[in-house]
């Protein structure tokens, strides 16, 4: 362990891999000191574990109905968080719902920032009419309320989890494009970009190899902070019946079906709501912590 630590914190790394791992180690050291970020990381970690081992963790099958045991309150033996109107175990449904939530998050987190980064860096780097065109398109997307736009897209594409992801991704990229463009504008005129241009590098090479790494931290921070919003939109689409279709255990859908009993059987809607709240909080805390660690302005100190 100590040998590994010495190897990681070696000021003179012997290979590219060691240099990169050493930097990651330093970042990890910084984030470890940030208690809130660690709390966020634990929450997100638990989400991953729960999603990965759902069949083993969940006490019941999330889809099996038992009408003799419907609407049992939390604390009932065998149904820790109670049951819903079809007698399904709410805890098990939340646990399996973590998979769907994570699936949506993962797909959105891969597609939207990639698209945003590409558009933002290209617009910022070239400037002129390229910038004007791309940014007006971005503005058009930004001008719509996100949920409404996602609703419209799903209405066209039809409900379903893939279409929900597509709709969310298509509405989520403009802020990343804005962030990436702003970062690119400050980087574009720097001496190190002038130097690499002077070495004869092509524009795609400069954008991919030199501009994107500078934009990546702010975009990553933005993505983690937005994850809460993505969960909420996915839940909102589910709630409106335009996202995941029943009987799939999706958190938003669960809230929607609990709406009918909100006053008598409050737990049916509250439990998945709590799950959304905790996971959103986790991503927000993690995002805030990452900002301290990854932000180039603070990392230089």
């Amino acid at each position: 362990m100590t040998a590994l630590r010495v190897w990681l914190s070696d000021p003179n790394p012997a290979s590219r891999r060691q240099a990169r791992l050493g930097q990651a180690w330093l970042a990890w050291q910084r984030i470890r000191r940030n208690r809130l970020a660690m709390a966020g990381l634990v929450i997100v970690g638990v989400l991953f574990i729960v999603a990965a081992f759902a069949p083993w963790i969940a006490p019941h099958d999330p889809l099996v109905q038992d009408l003799s045991r419907r609407l049992l309150p939390p604390g009932t033996p065998g149904n820790l968080l109670g049951t819903d109107d079809f007698g399904r175990d709410i805890l098990s449904r939340i646990i399996f719902g973590a998979r769907i939530t994570l699936y949506i998050i993962a797909l959105v987190a891969v597609t939207a920032p990639a698209l945003g980064l590409l558009i933002g860096t290209v617009a910022g780097y070239f400037g002129g009419w390229v910038d004007a065109t791309l940014m007006r398109v971005t503005d058009i997307f930004l001008a719509f309320p996100r949920l409404i736009l996602a609703l419209a897209l799903v209405a066209v594409l039809g409900p379903g989890i893939e279409n929900a992801v597509l709709a969310i991704a298509l509405t989520a990229w403009p802020p990343y494009a804005r962030v990436a463009r702003a970062e690119t504008l400050t980087v574009r005129n720097s001496d190190y970009i002038a130097a690499i241009r002077l070495q004869g590098a092509s524009s795609p090479r400069i954008i991919a190899g030199h501009v994107v790494p500078m934009c990546l931290p702010s975009v990553i921070i933005r993505v983690t902070l937005d994850m809460a919003g993505v969960i909420l939109i996915a839940a909102g689409l589910g709630f409106l019946g335009l996202g995941v279709l029943p009987p799939t255990p999706e958190w938003g859908l669960m809230i929607s079906s609990g709406r009918k009993f909100l006053f008598e059987q409050w737990w049916v809607a509250t439990m998945p709501g709590l799950a959304i709240f905790i996971v959103s909080l986790g991503f927000n805390l993690l995002g805030d912590g990452l900002r301290d660690v990854l932000d180039p302005r603070s990392a230089s100190r």
């Binding site: 000021p11 003179n12 790394p13 012997a14 290979s15 590219r16 060691q18 240099a19 930097q23 720097s190 001496d191 190190y192 002038a194 130097a195 690499i196 241009r197 002077l198 070495q199 004869g200 590098a201 092509s202 090479r205 190899g209 030199h210 790494p213 500078m214 180039p296 230089s300």
Partner: protein
């Protein structure tokens, strides 16, 4: 034939409808293996001339010839093997998220040159840095060490001409001496031609054979090194610059005022 020939160069920036002439009608020629200095205060256009050569400033008049050939509007790959530049601020001229290794091997990758490992190590040794620095990040280096890396990067493609934009003004005096010594040694070893910009007359005098004094984008006077040492300048502006640098004279007169 001169290696660098600049004829009647004019650079005009357009900002908010206004036109600013940063350089106006400057002509100069530098022979191969000669070192030429540009001196002036801020706003004199000295750095803009270097940037114009690199295609990073809007040239609106005049011609720039390198080895007799007029430069094309877009500087191609061939240009980058002829001319390279060292920037003023070593804290801003290295990519903060690339290792030294990446910074130095990037030009080789762009030009598809083989033997990256040996070349990078050789380049580090050339500028007096230990090979163990190879995988460090810029923030793990001091200002002087960063400037050495920047010099190594500029020399990776074996250019003939090195443009030096205040290469030591951000450095401490003792580090400045080391970097100037390094530049002189590399010039001798690799047969380089320097076009150097500085506000420090003493630095320019130490490095260059001929000097041009600039003010407000125009040539004030061209002086040889001997004339500078003998205080034989013709124009009052050049003389006032010289007198402001009087404590940099050889005799080192330091009587308190």
């Amino acid at each position: 034939m001169s290696l660098i020939e600049i004829d009647n160069l004019t650079v005009t920036f357009r900002a908010q409808g206004r036109e600013v002439r940063a350089v106006e009608g400057v002509s100069l020629s530098v022979d191969a293996r000669e070192s030429y200095g540009l001196v002036g205060e801020s706003g004199s256009g000295k750095s803009t001339i270097l940037r114009a050569i690199c295609g990073m400033a809007p040239v609106t008049g005049g011609t720039i010839r390198i080895a007799g050939e007029v430069l094309a509007a877009r500087r191609g790959r061939a240009f980058s093997t002829e001319v390279q530049m060292v920037f003023q601020d070593p804290y801003a001229s290295l990519h903060p998220r690339h290792t030294i290794d990446r910074t130095l091997s990037e030009p080789l990758a762009i030009h598809g040159l083989p033997g990256r490992d040996t070349r990078v190590v050789a380049a580090l040794t050339d500028v007096g840095l230990p090979p163990s620095f190879r995988f460090r990040y810029p923030h793990q280096l001091s200002g002087g060490q960063r400037q050495r890396v920047a010099i190594a990067r500029a020399l990776m493609l074996k250019p003939k001409i090195l443009l030096l934009d205040e290469p030591t003004s951000a450095l401490d005096a003792s580090v400045q001496a080391e970097v100037l010594n390094l530049l002189s040694r590399l010039r001798d070893e690799q047969g380089l031609t320097f076009l150097m910009v500085s506000h420090d007359l003493a630095v320019i005098d130490h490095m260059c054979d001929r000097i041009m004094v600039l003010q407000h984008g125009r040539t004030v006077e061209e002086i040889s090194r001997d004339d500078l040492a003998g205080a034989n300048m013709k124009t009052p502006y050049a003389r006032s610059l010289f007198e402001a640098s009087a404590d940099r004279m050889l005799s080192g007169t330091t009587e308190p005022t």
